[in-house]
């Protein structure tokens, strides 16, 4: 189950949406100017973005590094839904 739990308009940061997948995993999508960046955490708030990166080859994305965090998935806005479904399938 993919559920939108919160969204926030652009302010200090780019606009964001928080999705909950299977009531366990939190996916945060940040809508930047030219693409979106996505980060995924588990129910203990540990980043599992790398696991998604390594196991979601069917979605077209690139990988960036958050300077004080971990990996970020960079993806076109039109592909966000596909990525969410892929994460649901994987998890």
């Amino acid at each position: 189950m993919i559920e939108l739990i919160r969204e926030q308009p652009k302010g200090p940061f780019f606009a964001r949406k928080w999705w909950k997948i299977n009531d366990k995993y939190t996916v945060v999508v940040s809508y930047e100017d030219s693409m979106c960046s996505v980060t995924v955490t588990d129910e203990e708030n540990k980043s599992i973005t790398d696991q998604v990166i390594n196991n979601a080859p069917s979605v077209d994305f690139s990988v960036a590094k958050a300077p004080i965090g971990g990996s970020l998935i960079e993806i076109r806005e039109s592909a966000v839904d596909d990525l969410l479904k892929e994460i649901e399938r994987l998890m």
Binding site: P12, S30, T41, K46, P67, I68, G69, G70, L72
Partner: protein, 406 residues
């Protein structure tokens, strides 16, 4: 709550700082006393003026003896000697306390460019509250240059040598020629016996968790954090209530210390829980007024959750962002956006209570730009602060770390 420094005296009136391995390492260029022989170490310990209960409490603290086990004084002294030999406890001689047992005041030197300095015995840093000082033991040329730049008058030089003559055996000002006094001062700086501290307007309150490391006294403040950046306001500037926080309605609410929360000795207080309620998950963000939240709250939040938190300041606004166990997934674009809006990166917190948890990550320049230092670059700042779950602090810049709690 900062741990009280343990200072003891022997039967000759010599003072020593007992430094436990669990404490933040001592950064000052000082060597501990050298103990190798068991009998000598025990003899030394037995001559320290420490009562039975104090030794017992120290042993309980380092988990060498359970609270319900009673040791005789003799057994305590043996146990302490063993800990010294194992390096769990180190002793540093505090010569500057030997004469009076009190902190001496050190003359204020007005430099030509408007700043003010104290020359202090380096051991002073072990007996007083954590503070920032400059050492020259690795920079002999800079030591010479620094003293030349000060252009000390004869009176200033005399005052310095007088104040430092006892702990450092400098020649008395009245008897030594000026060149010799200058040379002695340089040698003591290079040897690490003396440190230089920039003066402050007001002394730090030891019991005030919310006081930033330095309150500058000069036209160009020597600051340790991003508060030297234009437009930055210290997160702690208005938090002057000891042990508590000032909230908008002027009520003071007591908060439990980060270390107490981390070790489960105290529950997450309602105030900290109130922040958490507004920051429920990864990348949650919330803006608070400067009177509502300080940097120590980042440590409390991390102690309560195990997650990293970051604080950005713009005027009276404080923007707090929650990360996850291993970092805060703000993109380069997010950080640039913050910078463009005039935010300054006041600090962030790392989970853990060890000194290593205070280390800043990353590099600037080249292809491998990453980590905390890369964010300094993106935010166009010189410095920022890292706190750990214990509330200890490190002001880091592009090149190094300056652990403040030690």
């Amino acid at each position: 709550m900062r741990r009280q420094k343990i200072i003891v005296q022997d039967s000759f009136g010599h003072h020593y700082r007992l430094h436990l391995r669990s404490e933040v390492p001592i950064r000052a260029p000082l060597q501990p006393e050298n103990f190798r022989d068991g009998y000598y170490t025990w003899q030394f310990v037995s001559k320290l003026k420490v009562d039975h209960n104090s030794w017992l409490r120290l042993l309980w603290h380092v988990s060498e003896s359970p609270p319900n086990r009673h040791l005789t004084l003799h057994e305590c002294q043996h146990a302490i000697a063993a800990l010294i030999l194992r390096g769990v406890i180190k002793l540093y001689r505090l010569m500057h306390l030997d004469r009076s047992g009190q902190q001496t005041s050190y003359p204020l030197i007005n430099a030509a460019h408007g700043e003010q300095y104290h020359f202090i015995p380096t051991t002073e840093l072990l007996s007083h509250e954590p503070r920032e000082a400059k050492f020259f033991h690795r920079e002999p040329t800079q030591a010479t240059h620094f003293i030349q730049q000060l252009a000390l008058t004869d009176e200033q030089l005399a005052a310095i040598t007088r104040a430092l003559s006892c702990p450092l055996q400098l020649s008395a000002a009245s008897t030594a020629p000026r060149a010799k006094q200058i040379a002695q001062l340089e040698q003591a700086l290079i040897a690490g016996k003396i440190a230089v501290e920039q003066a402050r307007v007001a002394p730090l309150k030891q019991d005030n968790l919310e006081t930033l490391p330095v309150t500058p006294a000069t036209d160009k403040p020597m600051t340790l954090g991003p508060h030297e950046e234009p437009g930055y306001e210290s997160p702690e500037k208005t938090n002057t209530m000891s042990g508590g926080e000032v909230v908008p309605n002027n009520k003071t609410i007591q908060s439990n210390s980060p270390i107490e929360i981390h070790f489960g000795l105290k529950v997450v207080d309602s105030r900290t829980q109130g922040f958490l309620d507004q920051l429920p998950e990864n990348l949650s963000q919330s803006i608070f007024h400067k009177k509502q939240i300080g940097v120590t709250d980042l440590a409390r939040l991390t102690a309560a959750t195990g997650d990293e938190f970051a604080l950005f300041t713009r005027g009276s606004q404080r923007l707090v962002v929650r990360g996850h166990r291993n970092g805060i997934d703000l993109s380069v674009g997010d950080i640039k956006l913050l910078q463009e809006q005039g935010y300054k990166w006041s600090g962030h917190s790392h989970p853990g209570t060890f000194a290593r948890d205070l280390e800043a990550s990353g590099n600037i320049g080249g292809a491998a730009q990453s980590g905390d230092r890369f964010v300094l670059d993106l935010m166009k700042q010189e410095r920022s602060l890292i706190l750990n779950s214990g509330g200890s602090r490190n002001v880091f810049d592009r090149f190094g770390n300056r652990i403040l709690d030690g």
